[in-house]
Symmetry: C2
Subunit: 559 residues, 2 copies
């Protein structure tokens, strides 16, 4: 039925995840009607080990860029890097001022990030009030406070032409020890009004039961701090404001002062303090240097390095390489975080190094309750489906196996399997009031950031890096006469990262190349032939001698 209502052109909404599905990180999703486009989050992903040399991975925003005229705003669910970290890159590409909506701490953490990247003038940061709908084109958006590991986290209820979309954002039901908690009554209410589609966090769907409340961590830290004979060094994510607050508060309660080590942690804490998320007396915090004058049992140190990052404060402390903090007898180190998948080994190595220096080390494998996740477990996810009673379910924010398990869960609650759609990055999912359809793909994927270079790290570059990493490089430089093609200089062989063992191998290889080239004197120079011949002769000789294949780079200079 055609309609003349300009707010309901076609009565459909499309959702296109730009990241976060089939991967953890770079959360971003397009919500689109015929007239209007919203972007929910713009996060980064930290590169996997195999992305050699890559600093960051961001979503491919080209669809947003090519429809920037319809972009009504960017909605930020909370202030974690994997939800806000790609904003500076997006704003620079957009090149124009765009409204960005969020709760106070989220915007508070976004601001310095944009300043650092010198794109603050492109951002029109607009504070929202919880549960008060704002209009963005034909959409009405409400920020619904939820519990997560950072204050001011929100779900989004987005009313559009086809109905209400509910983006959970990162959340859990259990209380967050920061005032905020997810309010089941509010979800029930939204469910009563009718939810077209639920777009849910599902990264912990493989954990049965419920995520324990933050309170248990506060109590565990309290006991550790109370009983520790010396300093307590607590490490967590620089973004985990809740965990930092717990450490400072519990330290203060037991007569200790906290010093914060690490630039990112200090910066985040300062923002949280200014916005009133830290309610501790001013003398609870001291500078690191001041802790030297305090008895050990009156000190808490809060540091980064919970993931064993080699350059973090904790890793340096663990190998005795920190400029200010040296481990002393009686120190207790608390790893108040679990390793992100892929970081297990570096975390384990940090723990081992701390133990070698005779620190007492407390980590989740030993005392489970030094950390709880910020994400909902299986029973909480089920409860949210039951409260909201959506017509359709689209799991987002999880590895592919999490999406599959979430579909099973949704089906368990009574939803027919065909109403649960597992999207791919860049896939357009179209919703009408009574149907959900896959509508093809837009250009999307990963953009690699390496230094100032955004998007230029191609597969060829990565393949070369892997080859270099595996077997190193062997350069064979020759100078040839530009007229006669005769070899007039070299071959000079230079090896890097190639384990040739014995210098004589290079001497012999040089001879091989020289002989191979000498066989064709007085010919017109054939650059391609020379390069191919050097590669062939050298590659064969080296492989026979070492059973390795370094990258062979002939360099032919004409003189």
């Amino acid at each position: 039925m055609p309609t003349s209502d300009p707010h309901r052109p076609g009565r459909s909404i499309s959702i296109i995840p730009l990241g976060g599905v089939g991967e953890v990180g770079k959360n971003a999703a397009v919500v689109e009607s015929q007239r209007d486009l919203l972007l929910v989050d713009a996060g980064v992903m930290f590169p996997e080990e195999e992305l050699l040399g890559i600093d960051l991975v961001i979503p491919d925003f080209s669809y947003v860029l090519s429809h920037a005229d319809r972009l009504r705003g960017i909605l930020l669910t909370h202030g974690h890097e994997d939800h806000i970290g790609a904003l500076p890159f997006l704003l620079r590409q957009l090149g124009r001022r765009i409204p960005i909506y969020g709760l106070p701490l989220t915007l508070g953490l976004t601001r310095p990030k944009l300043q650092e990247h010198r794109v603050a003038d492109l951002a029109d940061l607009r504070l929202v009030t919880p549960n008060e709908p704002i209009s963005l084109g034909g959409f009405q958006v409400s920020f619904v406070p939820v519990s997560h590991s950072i204050p001011d986290s929100a779900s989004l209820a987005i009313r559009g032409p086809a109905g209400v979309l509910f983006f959970t954002g990162d959340f859990k039901l259990s209380a967050g020890d920061n005032g905020a908690r997810t309010d089941p009554a509010r979800l029930q209410e939204i469910g009563d009004e009718g939810v077209l589609a639920l777009l849910s966090d599902c990264v912990r769907v493989d954990r049965p039961g419920r995520t324990p409340p933050e309170r248990v961590v506060a109590e565990t830290l309290d006991e550790i701090i109370r009983d520790a004979p010396g300093r307590v060094i607590i490490t967590t994510f620089a973004s985990n404001i809740t965990r930092m607050r717990q450490a400072i508060e519990r330290g203060y309660r037991h007569g200790r002062k906290t010093a914060v080590v690490g630039r990112s942690m200090l910066q985040n804490l300062q923002v949280a303090e200014e916005l009133g998320y830290l309610r501790v007396p001013p003398d609870a915090l001291v500078a690191v240097e001041e802790t030297r004058g305090l008895p050990a049992d009156q000190v808490v140190l809060l540091t980064t390095g919970s993931q064993g990052e080699p350059t973090s404060a904790l890793s340096r402390i663990a190998v005795g390489d920190h400029s200010v903090i040296k481990l002393i007898p009686g120190d207790t180190v608390v790893i108040a975080a679990t390793p992100v998948p892929g970081n297990e080994e570096t975390v384990a190595r940090t723990i081992d190094n701390l133990l070698r220096r005779e620190a007492t080390v407390i980590y989740p494998a030993i005392v489970e309750t030094v950390h709880v996740s910020g994400h909902a477990s299986r029973d909480e996810l089920r409860e949210v489906i039951e409260l909201l009673r959506p017509r359709f379910c689209i799991p987002i924010h999880g590895e592919y196996r999490h999406l599959v398990l979430y579909r099973d869960l949704a089906v368990e609650t009574g939803l027919p399997p065909e109403r649960v759609v597992l999207p791919e990055v860049g896939e357009r999912i179209e919703l009408t009031p009574d149907a959900i359809r896959r509508r093809g793909h837009i250009p999307a994927g990963s953009v690699l950031v390496d230094g100032l270079t955004v998007g230029n790290v191609t597969n060829v570059v990565l393949r070369d890096r892997r080859h270099l990493a595996e077997d190193g490089v062997l350069i064979a430089a020759v100078a040839v006469d530009r007229e006669t093609g005769e070899l007039v200089g070299g071959p000079d062989l230079i090896a890097r990262g190639f384990a040739f063992g014995d210098e004589s191998l290079l001497v012999q290889a040089t001879g091989q190349v020289r002989r191979a080239l000498k066989r064709r004197p007085n010919m017109q120079v054939e650059y391609g032939y020379l390069v191919a011949r050097i590669k062939e002769v050298l590659g064969h000789y080296i492989y026979e001698a070492t059973r390795t294949r370094p990258m062979i780079l002939p360099v032919v200079t004409e003189v």
Copy 2:
């Protein structure tokens, strides 16, 4: 008190771990009296991600080599790679025939490995009988059968001049579903005779309680195989004979035939079959090709790839790239192993890929009992201490944190802390009947194997590989006149693995180098100066433009 008994010169024994302490893998330990030397195990370690391009890590055997005249034999506790894999390298270095002792399957798995490396003639493989002491110089050694994830695993009771050493080897107390089990009565008996030192596996000391018996895995596999609508593809370690046997037996019970995919798995299974460790009817096994003619619900496929190894059969199946096995609707894939630390991500990616192809995937996070560890948990480790009542405890085979936790456990059983010694790789621990002492270090550590190259991969090579992996390489080749030092060719710039984005960057960089060199015409060639100048100019220019630091390699060819 001096003594004339030649079997008791000084009444001391030294133990020197050559690996396995503060690390998992390359298990090997020297047991030494004044007259005699034994080596317990000679295992490999699989390299950590940061050891770029390295194939294997083996212990530094130089101490054994320089005391080879006293080496009475090599004792193998069981047939896993991390206990036998370094034998070929050791034998080649020793260069003479040496007796190697073990139970049947251990030697059965060792033999083809030595043949493959063409060192079989250097090994004098000697079968031992369980619990029957053999004399090796002044030592008497008993192989005491224990339960582990491979049949014919043994602990070693070594009687030497100072008393009895008990090496647990890898073990657990719970039954191994392969006939063998650790016999507490036998341990009690050995304890009654008096144990000087217990050298214990401790890699699972952080798990409370007891490791579940293998039976639960057999039952779980039985249910999965019974209920699966189509083929069941089971993946585990190629060395986990027990798990393979369970799969084949349970498959057969439900009218299925098993095909084994993967060379290492086939080879191990063949050895196990020849030695009678597989008691299945001959028609239980078929070739992979033959499964095509069978109904899907009559097929079990047993494959390698439980660690997500990129070239394994399962990884290829998961991306649709296996030459023979293609996933079909109804396939169930069982990952009957847990990821070794560091492999979590590759395993997860394999699971995701299988799910994308709509296989049903069962893995330990979903159904815990598709795998149990081969190692003793905390309560079992405690029980062994209590049965053996050793005077001293030396935890081996564990990360440093495991050694620390094991010390805590030993102290809990009543042992004074000073009687528990945590050794380092290469540290000599000397035991007399009533004392334990640290006696300095011998040369020891890791030897890196890269292709045919053993031990030539230096830290410089690894550092270069890391640099190349991170930012790539930029080569600047110039030809200079050998007499005048004048630039007569180049600069030619070649980049690999360096993301320069735009060709114009290289053009401009070339100009920079040319100008820098042109400033000093008609000078005697100064090779060092030219190289340093190119590095400086190019490095500065590239960093300013890209904020990355590729390896800069000037190549100066004289003509």
